[in-house]
Symmetry: C2
Subunit: 326 residues, 2 copies
């Protein structure tokens, strides 16, 4: 049995959608049990309305919600009774809980995960996204929004965290690490990127392949693409926005012309480029897996992410390798 | 008659391709005359091989080339005999030359343009790209790679430069200015972005519409999108890379299935999303228009950019409005 804690609050679609997602996951995976953090009454109602088995469902009562307008510095110590914080604390204390999923405010989730789940407070957590690359491989983008202002030391650290993830979760032998920059040449980059280039080049434990430009970000040129959270967020969202825009054009032209070929093409492309549905970000640098789901993840999204965690549990991914690295 | 200086060196495709482009432009626009900076012998040979009229072509001899491996700080004062620097100096000194086109190293072109064409050395130049937005309008992205590390004051200044360009060149009455960030909320952004948010919000001469996320960058939500050169370069290149990847998929599927509908669709989309062919970046903050063409611009690209400059000359765009703004 694998037990996963799911934060039912902080979702754009409301708690019931998240609980439904937990229900779907429980139905699909008999080896799964869940702890649902949130408002007990809401959870009980949604569980019985959706026929969710009570013997594999535990409730952690926490009525307080972390919203997108909460500032991390303010709520980190004042909202310890929230479903997110109580959830993290529970995951930290209990050995039987493997990991956690939350749709809540990323800016709060990250330092909160660090507070409860990191032994080393000097370490900055990172949020990774593992994306399908052009050549059929996967690229781990790190950071995607956890640490917005990064020092070269943090970026160096992200390279290790990303490398470990790709080794342990995706079986990549000697992950190629690239550094996102505005040009391939070593002289290109902002101040932090230029300094990071030198750190990565001189680190024998990193298979550094040099600077990678935005148009090659998801080409498969590297297995791990290192950048600060601001740039990573742009890579993720610009990719998403561009893909959505072109797919919308294709759909419109398909509808207008009534072409079956074009509508079939649309269906094929949606399977690859619907970036928004690609599961959640993986919090790196903490000692148990915490997945940040999109704020608007629906029940299917939550069920998919639960499966992702079950796979991790099976692969015995080690999430806290940093001590012997830097 | 409008006279434009074209730097024939610094191109990935060689000087002859650029000279051919000048020839095409001269053929299409009888009101155009050009100054070609570069190696006299090469230019003379290419001109006669391509039947370029000598009465509308002037040569500025400069054999030295700025390469992509040149560091701005090193060459700015040592390579003043290069085709780029001599070109800029000529544009600065001569009243009869309207503007300039160069394919050369952006990192050198920008400070060089500032050195020769800006009266105010405190002003940082910016490189703008005017891109077709989702809703049929145009979005001016500024900066796209001229100033990689930006202070909030620089970003604030870019907002004015971009606003002026959209007013004067595209007839947008009260350009909506957005600030690229990793979230719509005011609390989101890196340090510089957060401070810039406050500056823009408090500036009555700017129609500030708030933070814009990467997936909305080219939605048409704003007419001017402000960001530092590192982020702008990502927006541009990630858009380009994603579009190219999806278009390649469509082409492959079209070829494989032999579907005429899909191949027609491909042709339609190429006209919109072939970002690489979208002309050049406009250097803002200097007193005459300087266009940075892509390093791999072909003769058609050079002819298109020449037309862009002729349009500017016609619209009497004013490129040096900064003095009465900040």
């Amino acid at each position: 049995m694998t037990k996963i804690l799911i934060d039912t609050l902080g979702s754009d679609l409301g708690a019931e959608e998240i609980i439904k997602g937990a229900g779907k996951a429980l139905e699909r995976h008999p080896e799964l049990s869940v702890v649902l953090s949130g408002d007990t009454e809401t959870i009980q109602k949604a569980c019985s309305a959706n026929g969710i088995p009570s013997d594999r469902t535990e409730i952690l009562d926490a009525k307080e919600e972390i919203t997108n307008y909460d500032s991390p510095a303010e709520v980190l110590f004042t909202k310890s009774g929230s479903s997110m914080m109580k959830g993290l604390s529970e995951v930290a204390m209990r050995e039987d809980i493997f990991g956690m999923i939350s749709c809540g405010n990323t800016g709060v989730l990250l330092p909160a995960a660090m507070k409860y789940l990191s032994g080393d407070i000097r370490v900055r957590p990172a949020l990774a996204a593992v994306l399908p690359a052009e050549n059929g491989s996967f690229t781990c983008l790190v950071d995607t929004g956890a640490t917005i202002d990064c020092t070269p030391q943090m970026l160096h650290h992200f390279a290790h965290l990303g490398s470990d993830l790709m080794k342990e979760m995706y079986g990549v032998d000697d992950p190629k690490v690239g550094l996102l920059s505005n040009g391939a040449e070593e002289t290109k980059g902002n101040k932090a990127v230029k300094e990071t280039h030198i750190l990565l080049k001189n680190d024998e434990n990193i298979n550094f392949v040099g600077n990678i430009e935005g148009n090659k970000a998801l080409s498969g040129a590297c297995d791990v693409l290192v950048c600060d959270g601001f740039a990573g967020n742009q890579v993720l969202k610009v990719t998403e926005g561009t893909a959505k825009r072109i797919l919308t054009d294709i759909y419109k032209i398909g509808k207008r012309t009534g072409s079956t070929d074009i509508m079939n093409l649309f269906g094929q492309l949606m399977k690859i480029y619907d970036i928004g549905s690609l599961g959640g970000g993986i919090v790196l640098g903490v000692r148990k897996p915490v997945i940040k789901a999109h704020g608007n993840s629906n029940s299917e999204g939550i069920a998919n992410i639960t499966k992702m965690l079950l796979n991790m549990a099976e692969n015995k991914a080690v999430f806290d390798k940093r001590d012997n690295k830097i």
